[in-house]
């Protein structure tokens, strides 16, 4: 645009018109442009319309499709509704199931809890079991070890036993209850000449008959094995028994038989025997020596005694008489001791046989009392003799006197001054009973079991009561057995002793 300048009114008008024209032109131009633009727009709209129509048709198609889809959707919706309904039902069911599951879950939970507790307990138990198992294993191992050790020990023991059995010098036989041989050892074979294989299973009495000192066969009923099986206690042979070897020769034996128990049941017996040929020979030699020595001592002693006794009757001064009296008494005492020694040697040899005759017991008692009266008076003792009438037993008078002699002299010897001694003979059933009772020193209780031993002297009398050899009672016990009697005693220290003799009438 042109810049306003200082011009006239016409000019101003003309200018104004010109400007208008120009503006009109401008507008026209603008309109043209606008038309053009409108045309453009129209065209564009046409195009757009076309596009729109296309679009519309497209839309129509789409709508149709959509309708179709809608219909489908409706169907689908319906289906969905149906499904929904189904689902609702399902949901409900599921809810039920869920609830049930909840309950179940709870239960399961409880159960789990319980199981947990149980599991804990089980764990404890398991641990204990494991522990126990461990211990058991150890125990088992220990046991096994012990068993092995024990077995070894037993084997050693058995081997030892077998070795001992084989090596012992004494013959050994084991029998069953009926007396059949179960086992013998090597010494049996050697001593008797029978082989184990020959002996086993056979009756002992058939293989091994026994004989007494006179060569008389000892019956099976009297055999030690029979006795042991009956009495069920151990026993040892007394006196001499002879066995017969396979070759028929005899030899003396000492026998011990013991019962075999397994638990409390008697299974049989075991017999051990020893060949005592040597001992017998030694015994015999000893006894012979004793006998000879005694005789050699006795004969001169008898001469001395007789001389002294004869002299005593002479009219001599009192002083000499007293000396003679002592000499006579001591020599008599010596003679008694020698006699006893001799008797013991006979007894031990079993060479003494009792000589049975009818004995007037009263006379015997009086004789024995008379024999010791000097002794009694010297010791200041009282004697009381009680004897039932008509006691006339069948026995060995000499042996009976020997017994009473010993008992009475002991009573006098071991009773302090002022005491008294009772000698009492009575009938007790089929037996004669003689009591010799004193009020003496007595025998200490702990020593009483030693009484029948040779050379035993009680400790309380060894010093006060002087002389004594300790063979008297040993002899008495042996003689009593010889006459088929028994002897016992009751003794209280410082109160006295009573010996009781029982023997067949």
């Amino acid at each position: 645009m042109s810049k306003p300048r200082r011009t006239t009114a016409s000019d101003t008008l003309a200018i104004k018109l010109k400007v208008l024209a120009r503006e009109k032109e401008e507008v026209r131009r603008k309109l043209v442009i606008s038309a053009k633009e409108k045309e453009n727009v129209r065209r564009k709209l046409m195009v757009t319309a076309k596009k729109l129509r296309l679009k519309a048709s497209q839309l129509a198609v789409t709508a149709k499709e959509k309708e179709h889809v809608r219909r489908k959707l409706v169907v689908t919706a319906k289906e969905k509704e149906s499904i929904r309904r189904t689902l609702v039902v399902t949901a409900k069911e599921k809810e039920n199931v869920r609830r049930k599951l909840m309950v179940t879950a709870k239960k399961l939970h409880d159960k789990a809890a319980q199981l947990a507790v149980t599991a804990k307990e089980k764990e404890v138990v398991r641990r204990t079991l494991v522990e126990t198992a461990k211990k058991l294993k150890i125990s088992h191992e220990t046991l096994e070890k012990k068993v092995l050790e024990r077995t070894k020990y037993c084997e050693e023991l058995m081997a030892k036993d077998e070795a001992i059995l084989a090596s012992i010098g004494d013959g050994l036989i084991a029998t069953d209850k009926s007396g059949r041989i179960l086992l013998v050892n090597k010494a049996f074979e050697r001593l008797l000449g029978w082989k184990e294989t020959e002996a086993r299973g056979r009756f002992l009495s058939k293989i091994l008959p026994m004989f007494d000192a006179n060569g008389t066969i000892i019956s099976e009923a009297q055999s030690l094995v029979t006795k042991v099986l009956k009495e069920r206690s151990m026993t040892t042979s007394t006196g001499t028994i002879f066995y017969k070897r396979k070759d028929g020769t005899l030899f003396p034996v000492a026998i011990t038989v013991a019962p075999i128990f397994i638990g409390k049941e008697l299974m049989g017996a075991v017999k051990v025997f020893r060949d005592i040929t040597k001992e017998k020979e030694i015994d015999k030699a000893r006894s012979e020596f004793m006998a000879i020595a005694s005789h050699q001592l006795r004969t001169p002693l008898t001469a001395i005694r007789w001389a002294l006794s004869s002299l005593k009757r002479e009219n001599l001064p009192e002083e000499l008489k007293s000396m003679l009296h002592t000499a006579h008494e001591t020599s008599t005492q010596m003679a008694v001791t020698i006699r006893r020694m001799l008797m013991i040697s006979y007894l031990e040899e079993s060479a003494t046989e009792p000589e049975m005759t009818q004995v007037d017991l009263k006379a015997v008692l009086e004789k024995v009392v008379r024999l010791h009266d000097a002794h009694r008076q010297r010791n200041g003792l009282e004697i009381e003799v009680l004897c039932s009438e008509n006691l006339l037993p069948e026995t060995d008078e000499q042996l009976l006197i020997e017994i009473l002699d010993n008992l009475l002299s002991n009573a006098y010897k071991y009773t302090p001054r002022g005491g008294n001694v009772k000698l009492r003979a009575t009938l007790q059933g089929e037996m004669i009973r003689i009591d010799v009772a004193d009020t003496g020193y007595g025998i200490p209780k702990e020593e009483q079991r030693k009484i029948p031993k040779k050379f035993f002297r009680a400790s309380n009398i060894a010093s006060p009561a002087a002389s004594g050899t300790g063979i008297g009672l040993y002899m008495v016990y042996n003689i009593v057995r010889l006459i088929g009697g028994t002897i016992s005693f009751v003794s209280v220290e410082n109160k006295g002793t009573t010996f009781t003799l029982l023997f067949p009438s």
Partner: protein, 120 residues
């Protein structure tokens, strides 16, 4: 009348002792120191009593008893032996021995009454 006793005892001390004791009792004593001497003495003069030992040399007491029986000598016999066994005693008893003493067991005081019985 003085009685006569024959002592047959081999132990001289004992025999002489017995002899002396009996002599004191006013008895005549002959001593034989063995069995043979005893038999000889018996044949020479029968005593009132024979005191006879058993164990003697040459011939023993049993032999003497046999001789007495065989020759039917009438003479009481007291045996005085140290043998105390049953067998010897029985044997002597069979031979009509009046008494049997075990000499070690007796005193002369006991023997005397027995001897006296045969000297009345």
């Amino acid at each position: 009348m003085i009685k006569h006793v024959l002592i047959a005892e081999d132990d001289a001390i004992l025999a002489d002792m017995m002899g002396k004791i009996l002599s004191k009792k006013n008895v005549r004593v002959t001593i034989a120191y063995n069995g043979q001497e005893a038999i000889d003495a018996l044949e020479k003069e029968l005593p009132d009593l024979l005191l006879l030992d058993v164990l003697m040399p040459v011939l023993d007491g049993h032999a003497v008893l046999d001789a007495i029986q065989k020759k039917k000598m009438d003479c009481p016999v007291i045996v005085m032996s140290n043998l105390s066994d049953k067998m010897t005693k029985n044997k002597c008893r069979q031979m009509h021995v009046q008494d049997y003493f075990v000499k070690n067991d007796i005193d002369d005081e006991e023997l005397w009454p027995a001897i006296q019985k045969y000297l009345r």
